[in-house]
């Protein structure tokens, strides 16, 4: 009599583990990603060691190295910038203005805007910096 070993039942590869990993990755990227509008030009913020953590929210005024401006990711001319800022400030009087200036931007393009924002009534204006690498 010939005895044959029964072939083990074919089990398909379980994909539950794959689904779990993909789902956790998806949640991870959704949580840590901050949806911010980026400026239509390159902005490399200056490096500072004394900066503090920047909370989310507020309007972002980007200043390129050549002085070009963008408000919340959209290019804007200097002549209409104050009107746009006033409109936003009217909607939220406690609005924070984040000035994201390129590190090579000359201060004649930056400081007058900070002064103008203060004169318009912005009570919270911050300069965006990049934390210095740890020694």
């Amino acid at each position: 009599m010939k005895l044959t070993r029964r072939a083990p039942a074919q089990h398909g590869e379980t994909i539950v583990a794959l689904i779990d990993v993909v789902f956790f990755l998806l949640i991870f990227f959704m949580l840590i990603g901050r949806m911010d509008a980026t400026a239509p030009f390159d902005v490399i913020p200056p490096v500072a060691a004394s900066g503090s953590d920047m909370p989310a929210g507020g309007a972002t005024l980007s200043i390129a190295a050549d002085g070009a401006l963008a408000l919340d990711g959209a290019g804007v001319e200097r002549a209409v910038l104050e009107a746009a800022l006033s409109e936003r400030l009217a909607g939220d009087p406690a609005l924070r203005l984040r000035v994201n200036a390129h590190r090579d931007a000359e201060l004649r393009h930056v400081l007058p805007l900070v002064g103008a924002a203060e004169a318009m009534g912005f009570r919270d204006v911050v300069l965006v910096v990049t934390p210095a690498p740890a020694p």
Partner: protein, 141 residues
């Protein structure tokens, strides 16, 4: 009359396929991985007005004043002498040891870069300056 008992066999419950959900999740994962830009950003307050006038009114006559001029070449100048990078912090620390309420004024040139101003503010903060202001000259209208 007794029935013959013919019954349609019940169909086994059909499993919902997970493949479309996996496809959607993978597409969303790739989307977030590709479109996300991860920046580690900090902030330095430039204007911070207190709600309470009592808090906003700081004693302006307490302590002395030290003016730091920032040239268009990015080199700080204190009392007419250029101060190399790295020395400014020690100089300010020495002055602040004598006068903890020393007010540090930074007068930058319009041609100086933002990085130069931030570096001076950084060194002042590192030296322990608590009263730091950036002033600028405006053209007379």
């Amino acid at each position: 009359m007794a029935g013959t008992g013919l019954r349609r066999p019940t169909r086994p419950a059909r499993l919902i396929s997970l493949v479309p959900m996996i496809d959607v999740m993978l597409i969303m994962l790739v989307f977030f991985m590709v479109t996300s830009t991860y920046l580690n950003l900090d902030m330095i307050p430039a204007v911070h007005q207190q709600d309470s006038p009592a808090q906003a009114a700081a004693p302006s006559d307490a302590g002395g004043t030290l003016m730091i001029r920032l040239g268009s070449d990015g080199i700080p100048v204190v009392q007419g002498a250029a101060v190399p990078a790295g020395v400014l912090s020690a100089l300010l620390a020495g002055r602040l040891a004598d006068d903890p309420l020393l007010q540090v004024l930074v007068l930058p040139s319009g041609g100086a870069t933002t990085q130069a101003l931030i570096s001076v503010m950084d060194e002042a903060a590192r030296a322990g300056a608590v009263r730091l202001r950036v002033v600028r000259l405006e053209a007379r209208p």
